[in-house]
Amino acid sequence: MGRKQKKQPQIREDIPSDEDEEIDEDEAFNSDDERKYGMFFQKRDDSDDDDDEDSDSGSEDGSDLEDDDEEEGDGGQYMLDLLNNLDKTDNDEPKTDTHTITNYIKEDPFSSTVIKGTKLTLDALVDDIKDTSEFGAVQKKLKGMMGKSATSTPAARVITERAQRRVNYQQQSKEVSSWIEAVQENRQAETLDFRPHMEGANKITTERMIDSFVPTTDFEREMHEALKAAGQEDEAALIRAEEQAIDALGENEITLEEYKQRRGQLAKMRALMFYEEQKRHHINKIKSKKYRRIRKKQRERQKESEMEAGIAENPELERELQEKEEMERMKERMTLAHKNTSKWAKHILKRGKNVDLDTRKALSAQLRRGDDLLKKMKTSRNGDDSDDSDDDLVATAKKVLEDTESNDADGEEQKGLFKLAFMQRGLQRERERARQEARELLMELEENERLEHDDDEQRPRDDLKPEDKSSARKKKVASNAEMTDLLNDGAMIASTLQFGSTTATAVESSFSVDLGSSASEFTKVMKPSDTVGSQEASGPPAKRQKNEKGSVERHTPSHSTQEDNPWLPFEKKEKKEPSKKVKSNNVSVSVESAVTLIPEVRQEDVQPKNVAETDINKDSKQTGENNKKSITMLSQEELVRRAFATPGDAEEEFALEKKEFEEREDPDNKKRKRNENKKELTSSGWGSWTGKGAPPPQLPKNLPKKFQPPPKLPERQRQDAAKPRVILSERRVKRLADSCMIAEIPYPYKTREEYERAMAGGIGREWNVTNSFKDMTRPEILVRPGQVIQPISKRMKQSRAPAKF
């Protein structure tokens, strides 16, 4: 093409364009087929005479166009253009030929110049047949040809097919590109959920199952038939059948009177109910505390009276009630329900304050009960409780004893009936008897101790008959009431008695007991033998430790009760035990110390020689106890201090250690040391020594660099600088660094910050709420087991819903 353009000016010089055109046309006409010929004609019609250049430039344009189209790729239009251009390029080839020919003709001086200067037209061509008869028809045809545009030549098959492929491919690419959004979304999604979205319609419900039930097996079919026969195949049929049955009974048919009566009844009922409701509503509305109190008391009174009536009617009921109460108490103690340690209470507590009101009430009721019990215990320990506990009994016993003693002291001051001689004698006798009995009792207890049995407690109370004194002697169980009666009536050796479970005694008598001098004897004998024991006896009995053998040595000193031990949970055992013993209404009275004391007394009586020896023993025991006492006397605080005591200079030592550690770990330490060594490089010389009173020598300023004093290294702040009691190692642990650190930022992350942000925070349950834990541990693919995952569907291609803000 470039060459051709170079030649063109030459052509122009020689030949006028007209001539060229003519020849061109001629050649074309001769060589090409009719269609092409026609096209030339059309071209000539369209454009003016300067066709040569036009066609050239046209082809150039065409190639440009083709390129453009390739880039744009706009389907069918492009293809047409392409085909047109193909035509043009085809035309070009013969044209170049004609050029050469024309050149040749032009240069030849002998060439024919017949058609020179004239235009060859169709008219001219058909001029010769003008006068023939068919001329008209031919002319008509030619005219028609001139008006029409000719169809283009089909390009080579290879070329057209290629073009077609290209166009198709571009079209396909475009179509496929419409999936990009869906694909991107899928790729970026952290989780692909392929589970079918269950809507209400898809859920399996009982109704649905019943509706869709079709009997399949023989049995089912048979059942169905039977039901159908009975008219009960479905619920509607069932209801219908029921209604029919009722009708058949005449239930639905009522007379007018009946109807009126029923209506009246209903109206009355309704009115009553309404009234009741109103009343209750009204009562419930009352806010007065006083009213509530009165109501409560009223209720309680009513209940009590009911209970009493019940008891009066049925004596068994009382026992039952008491037992029941006891059982409840026991249960409470066993389960510690009032302490909120039950599973239920724990559950409630775990749920926090969000529980509903009723539950909370129940819980607080329990707590209150626990508090009550606690209070009761405390008060009973203090001994000012009017309850029938054994603490109380002991207190009464003491009081009674004191009374009897005082009575003994001024026994003559009795008045009235008691002044009479026979009464006095009778009393004396009674006293004698009581003393005798007490002796017997004690002996018996001695035996009992040897036997060691404690099943007497379980003996039913019914066996006990106060009238049968001989049998009562053997029995070791006494009722509460009887005991108090007894204690009120007479005096006893209560000071030596301890209430316990292992050995028990029952004393039943309606007469007054006066131990007189024998009691004082006992106490006398006791005191030197065991001071601690007596101390104990005077102290609150609840605090006394149980001891089966009754050995005095094992008794813990009572002073331990003076101070609360913070390490022990709130005086549990000691408090529980006394109340436990009040299980039934039988009181078990332990007489351990008494039992243990009596043999001693006897020993002393029988073997007075050994007294000194035993005394020595006792002394040694006492000293040992005193030691113990002195140790345990230390306050808890003191104990703790001693246990965790540190030597006085520990802090200094630690500081020293820390300093050493710091020096060891300091990376600049070596350098610093080296620098220090460097200082010494500048040895003393001229100007180093100065005279007396002269200013100290100064280093010369213009020393070489290596002799200059080292620059001061910046002090690096250690992590534990502000923590005098901590040493934090700053050494790099290579093993850890290798396993827990990475050399470069891993792929999806771009910066260190990004990566660290991604790594910060845990994904476990410990550090997240349930929902975020679920979110963070959600698997990449969610699919129902056994579900087929189908390829992406057209729905995915649809544009997403606009984002919500």
Partner: protein, 448 residues
């Protein structure tokens, strides 16, 4: 009368959608050792994962009597599998029981392709003997025998068959042409015989699962070609360095497909840009014979002549996992089940094997707690996978000695070639040499 009703307050949590009360403080300042704890857990999780990795479930029945050449899974159901063997038999398998349902003496020569019809009731088999047979999945009730419903025949041999994803037509590749058939006609509906002036055999044809009219094929002249059955023209062809053995369209990404190549690599291509692959998947030490997409479109499995199956994640060039057994020979065909849980391989030693797609996954119903624990473990490993220790445990695979050696050798060769190229570039005065991207080297030329 006052009626007490059952009631519940909105404050306590009664149904699962309610917010749960956190019984612990989530403030990170109270968890100074959180990272250390979680890291330790991650290490344990990685170890557990490897401990429980037993991917092979078992063989299918007793296998064929000759090399397994092709297989196909139903597109509707998870149960049936059909496989073709080199001795001309076609077998139907039940995947749940791993037993053979039927063995059909279908052809006289190698069965080169089997494919299920869309409805999942019938399937087609084609062979080197020039026959296509259509079979029913269920045996004829009277004779208890599988009879072919329809038969087609050409003079020559069939190399591959695939079924349309929507309608009843199917396409075959024979040594002479790519043809489109329907069961109603005895002659092909469309024939693509002259393909870009090359008469080389097309070895694989695959219908597009989404753009149903698209058809892709691999040819023996190392080419990958696209056809449009709607307009009946071929679209474009690209010629790679070596021959491709298999081609599979990504079911979730309609523009992408994977190619299993003879040059030990798998390539994914974007059909709009065939001048270079989008990614190269390396690792096999011999020709890749077959590829199968997970239905999720996020990973694919490849079976290779090196007697291993590798599972590649779409985003990573190295295999996520590699399966092998002592007795498994060259893997000729792999399938990924449509629930994305299992992989089926058919190999040269005539056996079909069922594998778990995730080696350490526990099969069967899990309790909620167990599931949560498992998910937590896998997310931990995923989170900390960049850390050296976890990476080491997580990526460690015990390989047959041969493959290990070959891999090492390949790496040495690659390094050597790179070094040489670097030297060429460095000492090249005329500027003839330059570094060429790895992906650029794959495609030799594009033909349209």
């Amino acid at each position: 009368m006052k009626i007490q009703t059952l009631k519940r307050t909105t404050l306590d949590r009664e149904c699962p959608s309610d917010l749960r009360r956190a019984s612990r403080n989530l403030d990170p300042t109270y968890h100074p050792l959180q990272r250390a704890r979680e890291y330790t857990r991650a290490v344990t999780s990685a170890k557990l994962e490897r401990m429980f990795a037993h991917p092979l479930i078992g063989n299918l029945g007793n296998g064929h009597r000759d090399s397994v050449t092709c297989s196909s899974l139903s597109r509707r159901s998870l149960l049936p599998l059909v496989s073709g063997s080199a001795d001309g038999t076609v077998a139907i398998w039940d995947l749940t029981s791993r037993t053979q349902v039927a063995e059909i003496p279908a052809h006289t020569r190698v069965v080169t392709g089997v494919v299920f019809a869309v409805n999942g009731e019938t399937f087609y088999s084609c062979s080197d003997d020039g026959f296509i047979h259509q079979w029913t999945l269920h045996a004829n009730s009277e004779q208890q025998k599988h009879n072919s419903i329809a038969t087609w025949r050409i003079p020559g041999s069939f190399k591959s068959i695939d079924h349309h994803w929507m309608d009843i037509s199917f396409a075959t590749a024979s040594d002479s042409a790519v043809q489109l058939w329907t069961p109603e006609r005895s002659t092909p509906v469309q024939t693509y015989s002259e393909l870009w002036g090359s008469d080389d055999t097309v070895t694989t044809v695959r219908f597009h699962p989404v753009e149903h009219h698209l058809l892709a094929g691999c040819s023996a002249d190392r080419g990958i070609g696209l056809f449009d059955t709607r307009s009946g023209v071929a679209l474009q062809k690209t010629i790679l360095r070596m021959r491709s053995n298999d081609l599979q369209w990504n079911p979730m990404e309609p523009m992408n497909f994977v190619v299993a190549n003879e040059d030990y690599n798998a390539y994914t291509f974007d059909m709009r840009k065939l001048d270079q692959p989008t990614r190269i998947y390396k690792g096999h030490t011999s020709a890749v014979m077959s590829a199968a997409w997970s239905p999720t479109g996020r990973e694919f499995a490849t079976g290779s002549y090196d007697r291993t199956i590798r599972i590649f994640s779409l985003q990573e060039g190295a295999a996520r996992d590699i399966y092998h057994t002592k007795r498994m020979q060259r893997v000729m065909t792999v399938q990924y089940t449509l629930d994305h849980k299992f992989i089926i391989s058919g190999s040269d030693e005539s056996n079909l094997r069922l594998w778990k797609a995730r080696a350490s996954e526990k099969l069967g119903q899990l309790t909620t707690r167990e599931e949560a624990a498992q998910q937590y473990r896998s997310s931990l490993v995923k989170k900390y996978q960049h850390l050296p220790e976890i990476k080491r445990i997580h990526k460690a695979r015990k390989l047959p000695k041969v493959i290990k050696k070959q891999t090492a050798q390949t790496m040495i060769m690659k390094e050597s070639a790179d070094r040489k190229q670097a030297n060429r570039v460095k000492y090249d005065r005329k500027g003839e040499h330059s570094f060429v991207g790895e992906r650029k080297k794959v495609v030799v030329k594009k033909v349209d």
